[in-house]
Symmetry: C2
Subunit: 367 residues, 2 copies
């Protein structure tokens, strides 16, 4: 991951993992359902295919979902046969509607759609060709910005990481969950780049195994020492003194600082509190949703029970049993030590600190 | 599970699940690695095969491991070609040694070996044939006693269960973990038999999936409503108010009330405390180890990393990642609301209450 050049080369070699990419032939995604055993790519040539790819978790992670949504919209618009701006707008609205219904929790999806809508509105007086070009460029800009945002977040958060020792993360908030570099794993990468000796403990993160399949894959590629544990081992690892900090991503952060993130995050936060271990969240400002007052208002997606009942096609539960499969849970703000964003670090009271950051004023809070 | 006869038939139809059984052709085990998709049986004709069956978790669960150890010893003795009592004793010691090295944490294994040793000692003046017969009978007695103990434990613990609502359990402390009926699931069964409307939430229990594969299979057979969740969902279920009590089994209980049980139990106990939910442990007196002063002295088995890295032969982690796979963790006594045994219910201070129960004095503590 780190550039080999001397003297602090500004390249962070995120090119090693291309989560998704705009190409002349469509939008190309690394297939996250096949990792870590197969590194294969899916090329989408229609916006409906991009919607499927988001829905089926070929791509996942709130920031990556946002970038995917923008690229899906750009692809749909580019493919349009519309001959008038009015006709293009009708198709654009339909495309946005389809993309908006793929997954409910990650607010970055809706943020990206809104940003593409705003771009379209700002361009209404132009030609169909000009609008197409502008929307494709906007999607690519969102992609590039996301990488830069993650790097900034990494710089902001690195000081929070311990100089050495274990850092626990849950799910995958890495390069694969973003356009590159990662949110929580971006902070860890930045800390390692600063010379901190971090050993990552990655919860495997049932049922989709983002931790064992994706986080471990990314970190092994980067040479960052990583231990995979079952989700139910994090308490024991903390009690044994192996964990000095926890850092996770987020799918939506409410105005009061409540954090929706991958199911199991709440359990980790309760365990961190019990062991007096700091619990950090790293997320771009686009994940903060000031229109959602608190976590109880965040829609939580229920996914297919088959994710729990079957594994690689093999049944692991008997017929007749019931299943719960919420994809996310909500960690109340009181359990969150700090929220790392590209604009600075927010601490309680989050109503104030988050609102200040969203309004664009950098908050320099000493870590 | 419940006998269909009118008027409170004393049969608890544990015959529906035969975890293990002494037969003329050897010791027969239901293969717990194959459930719930295949109900197959393994027949062991040598004590070494019984040792393998314990080691490979074809049979698991502290009480079932104890009964298996006794039967393995009886089988080895029965098969002996020894012509003198002295020769038989040498072989017996070798058999006990092999069996004792199968798994380190469940103290019931060592309890059963000691009981068979005591039986042998008490019989020294008899013939080889008489000793063989007595040891086979002793193993069968341990088997029968275990079922009776579980039923008594169920009666003692049922009053602790809520009249209705969700009860969370972790791993499998059921009929499959014992000679029949179960410890934690025995308490749930007894409560249901008393008319309580319990809905069981079963943690799937990675990496071996005893919850989804075994607990769910048992309870569905019995018609007890059961929802399987990933281990990382228990916190969210508690926060949503779905869990009224937690009950688990134990592999070893130290003199001070610290409880070694399946990895993840500690996490559940911390979550229960955070939500003011009672956390109960159900275990026979043979699981209480007064010679171990506290949990820090309990040996914790590390199992094969492949349990975490692979699933049904498929890799779920990248090459180069490290793995932790402790089979058990220790829940400190302060998180344990009560310990249900066949002799009564122990509450803090456990040093006193457990010692009293072990000495054989029934403790009638109001639930």
């Amino acid at each position: 991951m780190r550039c080999k050049a001397e003297g602090g080369c500004p390249h962070v070699a995120t090119s090693m993992i291309q989560t998704l990419e705009w190409t002349d032939r469509g939008v190309r995604f690394i297939d996250q359902t096949k990792l870590p055993t197969e590194e294969t790519y899916v090329n989408c040539t229609t916006y409906q295919e991009v919607a499927d790819v988001i829905r089926n978790m070929v791509v996942r992670g709130a920031p990556a979902i946002g970038v995917s949504a923008a690229m899906g919209i750009a692809l749909g618009v580019k493919n349009s046969k519309a001959e008038s701006v009015g006709q293009l707008k009708t198709e654009f609205d339909e495309i946005c509607d389809v993309i908006s219904k793929t997954r409910p929790t990650a607010v970055n999806l809706f943020w990206a759609i809104r940003r593409m809508q705003q771009k379209f509105e700002s361009l209404r007086v132009r030609t169909v060709a000009q609008i197409k070009q502008a929307l494709v460029e906007e999607a690519q800009r969102i992609h590039a910005e996301d990488i830069a945002i993650n790097q900034e977040m990494g710089r902001n958060g690195a000081a929070l990481m311990p100089a050495s020792g274990g850092v626990l993360t849950h799910c995958n908030a890495g390069a694969l969950a973003t356009a590159g570099y990662g949110t929580a794993l971006g902070v860890i990468r930045a800390a390692v780049e600063q010379g901190k000796k971090i050993h990552v403990y990655a919860d495997e993160t049932r049922p989709f195994l983002q931790g064992s399949r994706l986080t471990a894959w990314e970190l092994v590629k980067d040479g960052i020492p990583t231990t995979v544990i079952s989700d139910n081992m994090s308490g024991a690892m903390m009690r044994q003194g192996k964990i000095g900090a926890v850092i996770v991503g987020a799918d939506r952060i409410a105005a009061n600082g409540d954090v929706a993130n991958k199911i199991g995050t709440y359990t980790v936060a309760v365990l961190a509190k019990e062991h007096n271990i700091p619990f950090y969240v790293a997320a771009p400002i686009s994940t903060v949703d000031l229109e959602t007052p608190d976590g109880s208002k965040i829609p939580i997606e229920q996914r297919n029970p088959a994710e729990v009942t079957h594994f690689a096609g093999k049944a692991v539960t008997p017929v007749g049993v019931q299943i719960e499969n919420p994809a996310f849970d909500v960690t109340p703000a009181k359990l969150v030590t700090a929220i790392v964003t590209e604009r600075g670090i927010a601490r309680a009271p989050y109503e104030e600190s988050l609102a200040t950051l969203v309004r664009g004023v950098e908050q320099f809070v000493n870590p």
